[in-house]
Amino acid sequence: MSNWIPLWLHKLSSPPTFYRFAGTLRPWMMAFALLLGAIGLYGGLVLAPPDYQQGDAYRIIFIHVPSAWMSMFIYGVMGVSAFIALVWRIKLAEVVAMESAPIGAAFTFITLVTGSLWGKPMWGTWWTWDARLTSELVLLFLYLGVIGLYHAFEDRRQGARAAAFLAIIGIINVPIVHYSVTWWNTLHQGSTVNIFGHSKIAWDMLWPLLTVTLATKFYYAASLFRRARTDLLALESGKEWVRQIAAREGKR
């Protein structure tokens, strides 16, 4: 049996190894994010034709939908790593869960604001308390709750465990957000893009949307790596490897 995968994972979860690993990958992730983002937004804003019903207002979709997907995707990552952190007490899993929360909150905030800016010209209102919008707002409050709980404890690892618990409970909300347009009669339009079937959107509009989505995934990786590296320095500040980095980079 090949056991190099668990061995490699075990090694990677040690803070100094992950610090170096993330430091090597992060610039590449950011470069991919910027490149794909530029291509996708050019395709969406310039190349794609106006919508036959919504005119040019629909172009908000190219940031609204990728952000909405990221708000749920990041919550999933946070929930899974929170579970790993609680069960196996792996420090890196705690860091990934807790540093995902601000990025997820950022994307959820973008989703709500861009949705509002899209809703005003199309529905005639900035906000309505319908299932999709309300559940997305609850998602933002869950992120903020996780961040707040994490910082409410003097001992950071104790705070991380409490916040991880909240993150796991809150994961119930993710399918509610996703299926809210199917389960309830809402003002929000149904899913346009379907991974396993026919998407109700023209290819000229679909490829920029998917490209920006990929860009936001890379952005998340880059941001998470940067945040995790900083957090590891704070958590391991007494250790020799951190002091070496501080001595090397603090002079600048």
């Binding site: 804003l45 310039v46 106006p50 005119g55 040019d56 207002a57 172009r59 908000i60 940031i63 609204h64 952000s67 601000p102 990025i103 950022a106 905030f109 973008i110 604001v113 861009t114 800016l117 899209w118 005003k120 010209p121 952005y219 941001s223 940067r226 945040r227 590296r229 900083t230 320095l233 704070a234 500040s237 951190v242 002091r243 980095i245 501080a246 001595a247 980079e249 603090g250």
Partner: protein, 73 residues
Amino acid sequence: MSVQALQSFFAMGGYAVYVWPAYAVFFIVLIADTCSPIFRRRRLLRELNARVARQSARQGQASDKTSPTQTTP
């Protein structure tokens, strides 16, 4: 791209007041998200170096006191 085409691009078919603020929010929030760990890291390393410097200064003092040349009269 002609000036006219550029103008019509920025006009967004009359929806400019909704489309461009949406994009502005997207970029401002993500730039803020990128910058906050950079500042935190800088502050952290500065604090850490200060702590190390304090510790080594204290250790220096302690070793001076115990050294035989510094016997109290």
